[in-house]
């Protein structure tokens, strides 16, 4: 049928059947889009809604198939009206998906697209709401790295667009949130990657004055040392992420000429022992620290 360029409702139904059996069959999705595009002038809103339902049904069974997500976006792009309502529905859809699979890579990607569309239609920023969303997701599971990643994107944007009223206050609140997270699960790398970003990024460096910035770093260092000592007392082992981030902190402090006592070499030697998988990285850093 495709080769004969038959673009009819009948043919559309055929593609539904095939896609239910094999949603990875990209050529059938393409044919389906060609059919819809050629019939578009006769198709009313209920058709498009039905198409979204069809896609949803497949997504439930195959949440990781790229082609289905692509098709959903294509349908939304060609949806006859550009009211925020249809995108609001998408936000609910993606909320549900991320409830079931909080790390779904497409899900988060899709969320950013949906939010972007709502923002551009309503001309209103959703940064605050999305920031809150990442807090909820992280509070549910502190190892949700996708949410930490998203938090970085949103904070950067909020500062860039001047959406933060009291910037210093904001950073102080975030610091205590981070320290709290650190104490909650010091084993997981997610929060540590976030901390690494937080202490080095321009927003924080420029919002705080030199004294405040150094104080923040030193407070953080105290807390990390505390966690590490607890761990040593508890298990007799060092917490490898504490050591890794202490290294970063020392580098910054040294650059600011605010380091009184240097322990980096010692940390690296300890890491070689405590984190042997990455031994060669530590040897490389030792070489650099000489």
């Amino acid at each position: 049928m495709r080769d004969e360029k038959i673009y009819s409702i009948e043919a559309l139904k055929k593609t539904s059947e095939l896609l239910k059996k094999n949603p990875e069959f990209n050529a059938i999705w393409n044919y389906r889009r060609d059919i819809i595009a050629s019939l578009a002038s006769e198709l009313e809103i209920p058709f498009w809604d039905k198409e979204l339902v069809f896609v949803m049904m497949l997504l439930k069974d195959y949440p990781k198939v790229y082609w289905i997500w692509n098709h959903r976006l294509w349908v939304l792009k060609h949806y006859p009206t550009s009211s925020p309502k249809v995108w609001q529905t998408e936000l609910a859809v993606v909320n549900k998906l991320l409830e079931q699979d909080a790390r779904n890579y497409h899900g988060w990607h899709y969320r950013r697209i949906v939010v972007g569309n709502i923002e551009s239609i309503t001309n209103k920023s959703l940064d605050k709401e999305e920031f809150e969303y990442t807090t909820i997701k992280i509070n549910n599971n502190i190892s949700n790295y996708s949410a930490w990643h998203q938090r970085v994107q949103i904070i950067s944007r909020m500062f860039q667009k001047g959406e933060v009223g009291n910037q210093k206050e904001y950073i102080r609140t975030e610091i205590s949130y981070i320290i709290n997270a650190m104490f909650t699960d010091a084993e997981d790398q997610s929060v540590w990657f976030y901390i690494k970003w937080f202490i080095k990024n321009d927003i924080v460096c420029k919002t705080l004055d030199e004294q405040e910035y150094l104080k923040m770093l030193k407070d953080l260092r105290e807390n990390i040392l505390l966690i590490n000592n607890d761990e040593i007392e508890f298990s007799g082992k060092q917490n490898i992420w504490c050591l890794k981030i202490l290294l970063v902190l020392e580098d910054i402090l040294e650059e600011k000429e605010a380091l009184t006592e240097r322990s980096s070499e010692q940390y690296l030697v300890q890491l070689i022992d405590a984190d042997p998988l990455r031994k060669n990285r530590y040897l490389h850093l030792l070489e650099q620290h000489k």
């Binding site: 080769d3 094999n22 990875e24 069959f25 990209n26 050529a27 393409n30 889009r33 790229y66 692509n70 976006l73 294509w74 792009k77 790390r103 890579y105 988060w108 990607h109 950013r112 190892s143 949700n144 790295y145 996708s146 990643h149 998203q150 970085v152 994107q153 997981d188 790398q189 997610s190 990657f193 690494k196 970003w197 990024n201 042997p276 998988l277 990455r278 031994k279 060669n280 990285r281 490389h284």
Partner: protein, 325 residues
């Protein structure tokens, strides 16, 4: 037990050979959309295992040509399917591996190049086909294919490089587009694209350190590598992570012994092939990335593989290096 693990070369060769003969069942139809990719994976695995003659060259080449989509002027995964950048790269890789790019002929080659270039968007990214999906995977695919054909130009390369650099993240990883979460497969496509464009020097020393750090943190205590923090290990990441580390000259930042052991544990000792994780069903995708990873680590005299192109080094060493003289 672990000390006695070895690579079951002969079994893997037989496994890959057997894939081609299972032709007339439903399962086979289900994987039509991956057929050309599958042949590239199989052929590359065979090359690494030093047994390329297991596939009949003439048959493979004629299958590749039968996947030509004359409407759009590029390769589909299967006869009468639709052309896509991903399958177009597979076709070019297979032909190059056989040193048979000539079979394209001038006409097809010209159309192919214009298909690839035609999918580049204004921001330098590429869509996979006319329906607009953007992903750094496609930037890599496009640059790699053009590079193999010796047809890169600064008009294509420069904006593509700009786009790739925008996908670099705060944590030292790369995402599928700007602002997207870091993913090991995207690290490979982005670093691979930069390497092909000869633009790795656009990354600062600090960035290279950060990239290496994020990548080596993918190794888990059981030895396998994951694609993102707090995810399970998977053999295919042996390739995405290792090749990325190799490209930035930090291959030894993970532990070879533990990773080798993990990959070998994913072998099916009866029928051959490698799976994503121990005890899972094997497939050709994880088989090639398993043996390719082992090759990068210099395991047991496997044929050397090029971390940038995921093809035998003996093949890629003949490619014209960009920028062309």
């Amino acid at each position: 037990m672990s000390g006695s693990l070895t690579l079951l070369k002969e079994k893997h060769i037989r496994y890959i050979e057997s894939l081609d003969t299972k032709k007339h069942n439903f399962e086979y139809w289900l994987t039509e959309h991956l057929r050309l990719n599958g042949i590239y994976w199989g052929l590359t695995a065979l090359c690494v295992l030093d047994s390329p003659e297991t596939f009949v060259k003439e048959e493979v080449i004629s299958f590749v040509l039968s996947c030509w989509d004359d409407k759009y002027g590029a390769f589909a995964p299967f006869p009468r399917h639709d052309a896509h950048l991903l399958t177009t790269l597979s076709a070019v890789q297979i032909l190059a591996t056989y040193d048979a790019l000539d079979v394209l002929g001038k006409d097809r080659k010209v159309r192919l190049i214009s298909f690839i270039r035609g999918n580049q968007l204004e921001d330098g990214s590429f869509q996979g086909d006319r329906f607009g999906e953007v992903d750094t995977r496609f930037v890599y695919t496009a640059l790699s294919a053009l590079s193999i054909l010796g047809e890169l130009t600064s008009e294509v390369v420069d904006p593509a490089v700009d786009f790739v650099l925008k996908c670099y993240n705060f944590d030292g990883g790369f995402g599928l587009c700007p602002n997207a979460e870091s993913h090991a497969a995207q690290a490979f496509t982005c670093l691979g694209a930069l390497a092909i464009a000869n633009k790795l020097d656009m990354l600062s020393d600090d960035q290279l350190e950060e990239i290496g750090w994020w990548l080596c943190e993918r190794q888990l205590p059981e030895g396998g590598l994951n694609g993102r923090p707090s995810k399970l290990p998977d053999v295919c990441y042996s390739w995405w992570v290792l090749s990325s580390l190799a490209i930035i000259g930090r291959l030894d930042w993970i532990n070879y012994e533990k990773l080798t052991e993990f990959i070998l544990k994913c072998q099916d000792e009866k029928k051959g092939g490698i799976s994503d994780r121990p005890e899972n069903e094997v497939d050709v995708f994880h088989t090639v990335f398993g043996v390719a990873g082992l090759s990068l680590m210099g395991y047991d005299n496997l044929v050397p593989i090029d971390p940038i192109y995921c093809m035998p080094k003996s093949v890629t060493s003949k490619f014209k290096k960009y920028p062309y003289k």
